[in-house]
Symmetry: C2
Subunit: 541 residues, 2 copies
């Protein structure tokens, strides 16, 4: 059970939001904060109230709508403006009045930034640090200080950088966080600088690393080795430019390799779930190759690795994936061998018996389909259907005769205003699909509308099949991915479609390949619906 | 100019190919090898001839079709089988006869793997190492030895691990590569182990790091600090599970921060181009947030960062992006401020004059469009059209009256064989689009076919416009991305479409958003074609 002796400080909502492509609503922020709290972080930096109106509102709503179990909410902001008293600075007031029990102030500790970016004197900057910290402490808040550009600043003018740290310590700051803001430091630099700093002050130290040199995690660990007891991270390493130190990697390393007790009991197992959930909210495809929590982190491809893992998973894994809520996965690809197929069938709950010939057929079929552009690694449902077919247990609930889909936008009324660049005209666009199938021997025609051709086809298909298989109503198409592959023989590009369905309890993904995008989508849809019927327990006719 | 004193050893084609989702043809491998050579690596590990038929062919073709300027081709393979002489082992023969001047052998150095995975004795394993190395050296090849699981093995039984290294050294191996095969080591572990090993042997050492603990790059640098002069990496960090040490990050750090002369002159500038080109061949979306070469690596978002960068880019960049062939980019988002817009306009070559009001309008319009789901960060062409419109220089070459697209698959002939699970029926699927536009006051109707609805719409649109603007023929749609966004007000999901066009010389990307996928695609297509006409130099009517 952790106490205040080690701080896991998350800044996903503030620094993480500075990642290219991320735009967070207040609802997003509240949802992410709840997840971070479930993961057991000690501090959640919620944003910059006062400077960012969305953040001001976030802190207001958080006090009502965000019951935190483990974490303390932290407001981020700058030291007071030059020449104004902290007590008179409205931005400082916004921090003070945010309702957050902790404030993280950012101060310049690189004298060049003081002069060129802030346009003030080194002495006034120190005053700004002391004044703002004192003011907030008098108001009853706990204060951490982010020393922006600390390592670059220390390199340029070590005396000044140290004076900023000491000024903060004298003013009663709780933690001085050394920031490698430009991300240019390597672990040896961190070690050396903190060792020297330790000779000059015994204030509590923290680390904030950026990943521009690919060493954010290592730099954070180096700081901990050198005595830091406060680490700043972001979920999935989101952040400005390359990003920040990844929360799940840093915590995984500290908990599992350093053996440090830094999260509340059982929180580490939430890592994978929280990582994926945050990626979904932030609307960024999950980084499949992240340490610990990535979907590929414990996925084994090489045939030889699979053979060894059959003997003992630890032969090729550095830790037990379930400790971080992840799973071991066997990948079936053109590198697959019999061991991979056997382990995969086991993973999917299919009994291969001792049918070595069937396993060989599956291996060959997978390799040839992969040559054609299929990729089963992300489409377990398709792989399962293939395995079942090769084992003589195929799943064929319906047969397609034909399909047709139309999408159109009709003309607006004469005299309608000239449309703006980014909005469509007054009239709506409509997509409609008609499918003709045989279900249990009967010919069925169904038509449906949708928000696009694939959505319309999906609805028409399910509408056609639902008449006979009534439990289909609970299915929904939740994701759709298009990848354009180069045609190897010059016949033109082929497309690979991945379709994900959900029935409210579980999700499954299927794959289709073809020269025509809609046709490839149809192949994936057919399988996805068949798989859905299989999951519902309908016997194959 | 580098010599043999430091090895930049790339294993993209062998270890990198073990990344989930990667399938390489021989043509892919040859193309990637050429790019790696252009980047100036010293060694290219091409694959496992003998064990993998594709690789055997790769080495044969490489001797004819791959004139290497900087790199030496390396064959990878295992030590001889237990109980068989190296001279009699066909797999060893395949390495010997591959035509590669260098062979990298992988040997077990963890005694548990010797016993459980290889099922042989520790002594025989040492014989296998000595015998295979000697045999290949007698045949005139240079040999490196990958000590698989070295660090785990050293932890378990240091004497045995060291004996493997010494045996290899005595047999005349050039480099002993210490592999953190399971990726569980942290930099301090690497430093400690290599320091101890250095006391026991002075054979040349190399490092092969996996990224399971998020420290592959740092572990590689730690090894170099401890005396290693051979680093194994993969392009973009591709590899088994989480991946390997990223070639561009390791080389960037060693060249730019250690000041080491490890690439031929001017090769470092090829980094970004080579990184992207390899991602394209491998058909993996480029990792936008990679250090040095990622498209986001020098992209600045926070308004305050933009203001400082206006003064001096070095205030927020750890190095000069052009040294690695990358660029600084200003991101325009809801965090954008005036400085971001001004710098962006400058980047796009647009003169804002001193129109502060226009800048303000652009900032507001961008923020509100981003709230609606637009994302301009990846769509510079759309942003430029918006800027031009706000500056009164709008670009409107045509006006859309209506469009319609149909896709269908007709029924097969009666009696056709029951179709297999992953292939479509005999009949082809067809997509056809009809658009009705006004171009220079005249109403034009055009119909075209395509391999999908968007492709068909694109062709119909261009067909309609080409009659008047004849230079459009050189345009082609090269990429199409769909992202399904959650509707914030419960009206259903909205889709964001990014469309990329090329005219053979440059590429541009536009964005469209809407509830209907095809409609959102149309918005992006309209802009992309307009932008194409702008690039061709047609004056706006």
């Amino acid at each position: 059970m952790p106490d205040d002796s080690f701080h896991v400080f998350d800044t996903t909502l503030r620094d993480g939001a500075q990642r290219e492509g991320v735009t967070l609503t207040i609802a997003d922020k509240l949802a992410i904060a709840k997840l971070l709290d479930e993961f057991g972080v000690g501090f959640i930096e919620g944003g910059w109230p006062g400077a960012n109106p969305k953040d001001t509102e976030f802190f207001q709503r958080a006090s009502q709508e965000l019951p935190l179990k483990h974490a303390q909410l932290t407001a981020f902001g700058a030291t007071r403006r030059a020449g104004v008293r902290a007590a008179d600075d409205p931005q400082v007031a916004a921090l003070r009045d945010s309702g957050a029990p902790v404030v993280t102030l950012v101060a310049k500790s690189d004298v060049r930034h003081v002069e060129q970016a802030l346009r003030t004197t080194p002495e006034e900057n120190l005053e700004m640090v002391a004044d703002t910290i004192s003011h907030l402490r008098e108001s009853g808040q706990r204060v951490f200080l982010d020393c922006e550009h600390f390592f670059d600043g220390y390199r340029y003018d070590p005396e000044y950088a140290v004076s900023v740290v000491r000024t903060a310590a004298d003013a009663g700051v709780d933690v001085v966080v050394l920031c490698d803001t430009n991300g240019g430091m390597l672990p040896a630099d961190i070690t050396a600088v903190i060792a020297e700093l330790r000779e000059r002050t015994d204030v509590r130290l923290g680390m904030h690393a950026q990943d521009d040199s690919g060493c954010a995690v290592a730099n954070t660990l180096a700081a901990v080795d050198a005595g830091a007891t406060h680490v700043q991270c972001t979920a999935n390493g989101y952040g400005e430019r390359v990003g920040n130190a990844n929360l799940f990697t840093v915590v995984g390393d500290l908990a599992l390799k350093y053996g440090r007790d830094i999260l509340p009991d059982d929180c580490l197992r939430e890592a994978t779930r929280v990582s994926l959930a945050i990626a979904e909210i932030v609307n960024i495809a999950p980084a499949t190759h992240q340490p610990y929590v990535g979907i590929s982190a414990f996925a084994h491809k090489a045939g030889l690795h699979a053979s060894a893992i059959k003997v003992d998973p630890d032969l090729y894994q550095h830790t037990d994936p379930t400790l971080v809520g992840n799973d071991m996965r066997m990948l079936v690809s053109d590198m697959a061998g019999r061991a991979s197929i056997e382990l995969k069938a086991k993973e999917l709950g299919l009994d291969l018996g001792d049918d070595r010939e069937a396993v060989g057929r599956v291996v060959d079929r997978v390799k040839s389909l992969e040559q054609a552009g299929y990729s089963f690694e992300a489409a377990d449902a398709s792989l399962e259907l293939l395995l079942r077919e090769e084992l003589g247990r195929q799943v064929r609930y319906f047969e397609t005769e034909s399909w047709r889909v139309i999408a159109e936008r009709s003309p607006t009324d004469a005299g309608a205003a000239r449309p703006a660049l980014f909005t469509s005209q007054e009239s709506e666009a409509v997509s409609e699909a008609t499918v003709k199938l045989y279900v249990k021997g009967e010919r069925v025609i169904a038509t449906a509308e949708g928000n696009g051709p694939v959505n319309a086809l999906d609805r028409a298909l399910r509408s056609a099949v639902e008449g006979v298989y009534t439990a289909l109503a609970s299915l929904s198409l939740t994701d759709y991915k298009v990848r354009i592959l180069e045609g190897g023989t010059g016949t033109g590009a082929i497309t690979r479609i991945l379709v994900t369905f959900s029935d409210g309890r579980s999700e499954w993904t299927t794959v289709g390949v073809g020269e025509n995008v809609i046709d490839a989508s149809w192949i994936a849809l057919e399988q996805a619906v068949s798989y859905g019927l299989l999951m519902q327990g309908y016997p194959a006719p």
